[in-house]
């Protein structure tokens, strides 16, 4: 049976999460009223939670504005999986950027999205779509397709039939088309995306496989449609992913 303390603690965390998630990627400071509106909570509640979170430095306050705090940054930088993966992948990502001159991304699958955990920027003057810690829908990115193709089939199906958001006229929104494409990706180890996420942008990705062939992360090269030379970069992305898959298995054995 759920005790009163249990119920209370659940709602505390729910409310804290609602406040945190009210801050979007490019937001700067938010006032209490705006926070309350976005978190869908009474202003008095948000005001109390915010005061406690400020004391704990999970939020920073500057005048009337609240910001996600330095302590969250500190906790976030300590999260092991992205930190280890980034450390392992960074030299390979830098090499890949140097030979392709394009932006290299590293991402993991989280629910229906990919979360970016590392970016090495290339020279191409494309507006950055991704940010470390940011998300994009898995079905609309090469990274997501590379990860889904090597995930258990029921997970790919769950996402395919869970509703595919249209981001551009080229986004795959038909579940069967997505599953068909994932079968190809599984065969070749290479996923591509052509203006499916943002107009003018193209991407090639390959999965980094860990223990038992399960995808741990994916690596990609992104460029503008005009500058793309997909065949050549595909082989290089695949090679980088294989190198990293070996390194991850080696790391596990030590």
């Amino acid at each position: 049976m759920r005790t009163a303390v249990w119920t209370e603690s659940v709602s505390v965390l729910d409310r804290v999460t609602a406040v945190f998630e009210a801050f979007r990627e490019h937001d700067d400071g938010l006032g209490v009223s705006e926070l309350a509106r976005r978190a869908n909570l009474p202003k008095s509640t948000v005001s109390r939670i915010a005061a406690d979170l400020v004391v704990q430095r999970l939020l920073d306050r500057d005048g009337d504005k609240l910001y996600l705090g330095v302590r969250l940054f500190e906790l976030g930088q300590t999260v092991e999986q992205p930190r280890m993966l980034r450390q392992l992948a960074l030299p390979v990502m830098t090499d890949l950027r140097n030979v392709t001159d394009r932006t290299v991304h590293l991402a993991v699958l989280e629910g229906t999205d990919v979360v970016f955990i590392g970016i090495v920027r290339g020279q191409a003057p494309t507006t950055p779509l991704a940010r470390v810690g940011g998300r994009l829908p898995a079905h609309a990115t090469a990274l997501g397709k590379a990860l889904l193709a090597f995930s258990p089939p029921d997970e790919a199906e769950r996402i395919a039939y869970g509703g595919l958001e249209r981001r551009t006229p080229h986004t795959i929104t038909e579940p069967s088309s997505l599953l068909h494409e994932l079968a190809d990706v599984r065969r070749t180890g290479i996923a591509t995306e052509h203006e499916e996420c943002a107009t003018g942008r193209t991407c090639t990705a390959s999965p980094i496989l860990g223990h038992g062939g399960m995808p741990v992360a994916a690596i990609s090269v992104t460029g503008s449609v005009e500058a793309a030379a997909p065949d050549r970069s595909a082989a290089m992305v695949r090679a980088a992913a294989i190198t990293l898959s070996h390194r991850i298995s080696d790391g596990r054995n030590h």
Binding site: A4, R48, G76, T78, G133
Partner: protein, 252 residues
């Protein structure tokens, strides 16, 4: 029933946190400090909470992705990574400082760090290795504000006397006077030095990063091997770097 009054309790100074939020944070901190995975039993011992309470809160934290289950217990989860990447001050500072950090690293050949203050420590928000590759300074790690160059650069310009007092609290009266003198020198020179006090064999030079209205946000530092790096030669470069970051912040 736990009343709403619980919300108004200030965080406990004792070892046992009283509010639910306090307990949640104590658990997250204990997992962070474990440096990897930790079991419920270990967490209960570290946080001084009943195992049943820890177990309930951990389940909830896993459900909301603040923690993640591993073979050896629990570890910090991806939600914290995502939220942390959105934290405002590090993001703002880093975007203004990134080219300046690279340039300072190229010019000096030494390790360059960017820092913000947190409690009595400085937290690294960026670190680029120089000829000193192995320093405890990757992003997210802490160094004591009292002895480090970045800490002194920050404190010298910190308008909140409470922060300065908390950091210098462990000092005996004479040492505290000396520390205040040092901070006023730092204010005049706009540069602080750490001559092997924090880490043996390592010298560091730091300068503050300020807003347009002179509020200190953090510090930029250069660290190198004692005997090989000349702090007097590096000082003007670090001061100029601090000023450039300050200007870029204002321009942004």
């Amino acid at each position: 029933m736990t009343s709403l009054a619980e919300w108004n309790t200030s965080p406990a100074r004792s070892s046992e946190p009283v509010s639910v939020l306090g307990r949640i944070i104590a658990i997250l901190d204990a997992v962070k400090e474990s440096g990897g995975s930790v079991t419920i039993t270990e967490l209960a011992a570290r946080t001084d909470m009943p195992k049943s309470t820890v177990s309930r809160l951990v389940a909830e934290l896993i459900g909301q992705r603040y923690l993640e289950r591993t073979d050896e217990g629990v570890t910090l989860g991806l939600r914290l990574f995502e939220l942390g990447a959105r934290a405002s001050l590090p993001r703002r500072l880093l975007s203004a400082a990134a080219p300046v950090i690279r340039n300072l690293r190229d010019v000096t050949g030494e390790r360059v760090g960017l820092w913000v203050q947190q409690g009595t420590d400085m937290v690294s928000i960026a670190a680029v290795a120089g000829r000193l590759p192995m320093l405890p300074t990757r992003a997210g790690m802490r160094s004591p504000a009292l002895t480090t160059a970045s800490g002194k650069a920050y404190l010298a310009f910190c308008a909140d006397q409470g922060v300065v007092n908390r950091v210098s609290a462990p000092l005996f009266p004479e040492a505290a006077d000396h520390f205040r003198d040092e901070l006023s020198h730092v204010r005049a020179a706009v540069v602080a030095m750490d001559m092997e006090v924090s880490y043996p064999g390592i010298l560091a030079v730091a300068s503050p990063v300020l807003t347009a209205d002179r509020v200190v946000l953090g510090a930029i530092s250069v660290a190198g091997p004692s005997g090989a790096m000349d702090p007097e030669r590096v000082a003007p470069l670090v001061r100029a770097a601090g000023k450039t970051v300050t200007r870029r912040l204002t321009a942004a």
